[in-house]
Amino acid sequence: MPIELDIGTLAQSLAYFIAAYTIVTLSLNLEAGFTGIPNFGKHLFVAAGAFVVASIGNRLSAYIVSVLYKDEILKLIQEDPLLSKRITEADIGSLWSMYADPLGNRDLDRIMDKFFAQHPELGILLFILILILAVAIGGLLGLLISYPALRLRGEYLAILLLAAAEMVVMAIGYYWKPLVGGTTGLFLPRYLAVFGQKVILGVTVLLILAAVAMYLYAQRIANSPAGRMMRAVRDDELAAASLGKDIAKVRRDVIIISSAMAALAGALIAIHTGSVVSTHYQRFSWTFIPWAMMIVGGVANNSGVVVGVAIIMILQKFVDIVKPMLAPVVPFDPVWLYQIGLGLVIILMLYMRPQGIIPEKPSRTVNFEEIFEDVLEDKVEDEQAKKMIREGRATP
């Protein structure tokens, strides 16, 4: 069977996925790689960004537009033979509430699309507003999560975050229609009408720009005193404490920053897709794959993350291409092989090269080994206890 390869589309889609995953995996790396906070509920934070865009953004923009441009909206409704029967002038004030169900969403979306086509500048404005909102809410969610995160042991935290994420994404997002339309999802208005027909390309470029910015930002954090501090927290609570800095604050800031980053990615992904449905934000796509990318590329290494993202995304595209060839041969959907393959890759990687393709660079300025010994001499009196701490430290 001949396969048609549209290189342009392929490259564009690859660029989109690489950019989106770069942001999410960089944010995961800030938490898990640099700071040792095992976020097993990353999909919650990505979903948060997308859910904000769909549920709050949709309503907000409908509300603002219907208040400020009541007449124009009314005209658009009356021009539409179907809608004019369903929506009357009296409904205008509560137009935003139509987003509570998928049918209303569909109707409203048609009007909004037309409206933004006429007012692209307002679309851009609302887009920026909603993006800021998504990032802010993502950060707030991070703040909320930081409360247990600062108190719990790693595995308990991992369980809690995974459970919370599954709950919000798989149960509430999937079943509770008012949030993001339940099983059918919600469409988003085309805010970025400025891009005309090239909306997808436009948003892809935005995502790439965002990914580059986030990379530079993550690099700056990693190389700052706070970044070294983070690694200290991860490797040695004791040594970090001896530096006299506020561990809790650093950890909290990291969680807030990376949650906001993930939400930014989620929001841009939603805009790119033009719709939001909770099943797009599952554990496999936005927790497991980012972890796989981080482990393949290199834990606690931003360039490693980019390499890992690129490798796995290219692999996925490759699978997408061979899938149609495989489909007639195997008596099942070849996509499962991709999932199984990724599961195997991560296990083999952990076994053969746990430090990733590009290992973490050793810290240049501070030797924690020495600090640790100093602290130990200083703070722990009992020889036995010292030995136990050392051994406990040395034991993996």
Binding site: L152, I172, W291, F332, Y351
Partner: protein, 335 residues
């Protein structure tokens, strides 16, 4: 509001499933010190064994039969036990030996979950294909089962009560008591406790710790497998049926403290009741407030998540760590 009998019976089956799963998850945690995120999918594999039994033993033709249980309980125990054993032997033990961090081990269990769900999906595709192509008209009716089958129609009833409502609690009690006797009364059981407390010392005394751990994983998987058999009587069959369930299972284990099998079973049982009755009464209250019928069954895990949060923040060592003597006397239940 009086207690609803049917609700109670339904809850018994579901809560004992969680009891079995939380107990067996606790066992794997005690042994390997890593939360196994694939544990609920273990149960899903057990559930698929029921479909296979219904198909291969021709129960889809004959209707409800005890054969469902006779065949699928041992089959699930062995198959899922073997899966768990392999997970321990080929993945977790070598990785732990290499000194991989706990985060790495956890992501490995997430990887195993993905692999297992992938294999279940492949099996579901296969089964759909087989059922669809079958000349047997009855078998063709099963074509939707691999992805959304209710298998409860093939289980027998006892005096009008579905067997799972009775068998579930029975299996839970038998395995808890059995475990207790095994751990306290037998040499191997004592060795298990010894190997868990201090593997190095156990080794130096001639106990083969790896063997002990392997058997623990096998038993834990087996119990998850039989939990899956009961589970599929209360819920729809699907390759990803474990994904939300894992929230409830972890809730049960955390409520139990992740340190004791008995408390793990109690924790799972409690979570089962909390979810079912929480949903039931919230529905009634919300219904009264809004004047509409409210259906919240899909959000049952909200109560589990709540239990996890409360437990971790209030008593992170679980119910097992509480001073029950003191609590009972405070409540005036004991002098």
């Amino acid at each position: 509001m009086v207690l609803n009998v049917q609700l109670f019976l339904d809850t018994m089956a579901y809560a004992s499933v969680l009891g079995l799963l939380s107990m067996s998850l606790t066992l794997t945690y005690i042994v390997s010190r890593v939360p196994n995120f694939a544990h609920a999918t273990f149960a899903a594999i057990g559930s698929y064994m029921v479909l296979i039994v219904v198909w291969l033993l021709g129960i889809y033709k004959t209707g409800p039969s005890w054969g469902v249980y006779y065949a699928s309980l041992p089959l699930s125990f062995i198959v899922v036990g073997a899966v768990a054993l392999l997970q321990y032997l080929i993945v977790l033990r070598p990785l732990a030996k290499k000194g991989i961090s706990i985060d790495g081990l956890m992501i490995a269990t997430l990887g195993i979950d993905i692999i297992l769900v992938g294999l279940l999906n492949i099996s579901a595709d296969f089964l759909e294909e087989i059922f669809q192509q079958s000349p047997d008209k009855d078998l063709r009716k099963l074509v939707t089962y691999p992805r959304s089958g209710y298998l409860s129609s093939y289980e027998p009833t006892i005096m009008g009560v579905t067997a799972s409502s009775i068998l579930g609690p029975l299996l839970l009690v038998v395995s808890t008591v059995g475990f207790y006797l095994f751990l306290t009364r037998t040499k191997f059981g004592t060795a298990m406790r010894a190997a868990i407390e201090n593997p190095q010392l156990a080794e130096t005394l001639g106990i083969n710790v790896n063997l002990v751990y392997s058997i623990s994983w096998f038993i834990a998987g087996g119990l998850a497998g039989i939990a899956g058999v009961i589970m599929v009587m209360t819920t729809k069959l699907n390759p990803t049926m474990g994904w939300l369930l894992i929230v409830s299972v972890f809730a049960g284990s955390i409520v139990g403290g992740l340190g004791s099998l008995f408390w793990g079973a109690v924790g799972g049982l409690l979570i089962g009741f909390l979810e079912q009755f929480g949903v039931y009464y919230t529905q009634i209250i919300l219904g009264a407030l809004t004047g509409e019928t409210v259906s919240l069954g899909n959000y049952r895990q909200v109560f589990s998540l709540g239990a996890i949060v409360v437990m971790l923040l209030v008593a992170p060592q679980g119910l097992a760590s509480l001073n029950w003597g003191k609590i009972l006397s405070r409540l005036g239940l004991r002098r």
